[in-house]
Each structure stands twice: as C-alpha cells, then as structure tokens.
Symmetry: C2
Subunit: 86 residues, 2 copies
Amino acid sequence: MSFLDYFLGSRKKTASVAKDRLKLILAHERSADTPDFLPALQEELLTVISKYMPVEKDQISVHMERRGDFEVLELNILFPEQHSPG
Amino acid sequence: MSFLDYFLGSRKKTASVAKDRLKLILAHERSADTPDFLPALQEELLTVISKYMPVEKDQISVHMERRGDFEVLELNILFPEQHSPG
C-alpha cells in the first residue's frame, strides 16, 4: 500500500451521497533563515480553491504540525452536494 | 513509519547546502458532474507560492495521476539557495 493510498484513505461512499472532497498536504522544508509562510499561504490557497468550488468554512479541517525540518499543513475540504460548475 | 514520513522522504541534507523544498499534494475526489480543475488550480497555486518564495520553472516537478475517484496532483519545488525573505 503506497503512501498515496494511505493519504487518500478509505474511499467508501454511501450510495446516495456524492460529495466532492479535496485533500491538500503542503510540506515546507526550510532553512533557519526562511520565514514560515504556511499559515498565510493557507488563506490564499483557500481563496484560490474557492474560485473553483464553493468552500464553506465549517467544512474545512486544518491540521498543522512540525516534522523534523518540515512544516506540514494538511487541509481537508468537503464540498456541498449541489454546486454549479463555472 | 507513517504516510507523512513516507511523503516527506529521506531528509538527508548535504552539509553545505540548505535549500528550501516545498512538497504539495492535492487530491480531488469528485463526482461525475464536477469539472476537473486541478490543472488550472496548479497554475494559480504556483502564482500564490511565488509571492512567498522565488519559484523557478525548472525547479518544479509536477506529477498528475488518477487513483480511483481521485485526481491527484503532486508538486515538488526546490527553491534557490539565496533568497531574501519579504
């Protein structure tokens, strides 16, 4: 099982619900003199994504952690069932 | 070993080189009627990221694939050694 399978997780869907999901992982390995821009980037990413899909604040889960030299940002977004593309 | 460790990979650094790296994975699980916006999103994400760090086109590796219901976009960006924050 690859890490991608792990990342994507169980793909079970209930028969009648076909919500869209977006999962995003951003890992920044930085040297000491580089500012941590992930929190600011997160806001801008959500702004960009919301141009394509209707993002609702309460449907976003955010997780940020440090892993060695990496700052890791994980976003999970669930989109509402109805949306008109474009 | 968690999937995050796998995703982040070996963190060996040569002693003298401290380049910054950014790894991004975006996975979109979509229903049939939703347009695939990852290719367009990719361009916008790079534009946003380049506001924080100097992105050079030849230092970006892009990988896109389909995994079941997921469209998966993976970006790896290496930043030049010198950069002035801000």
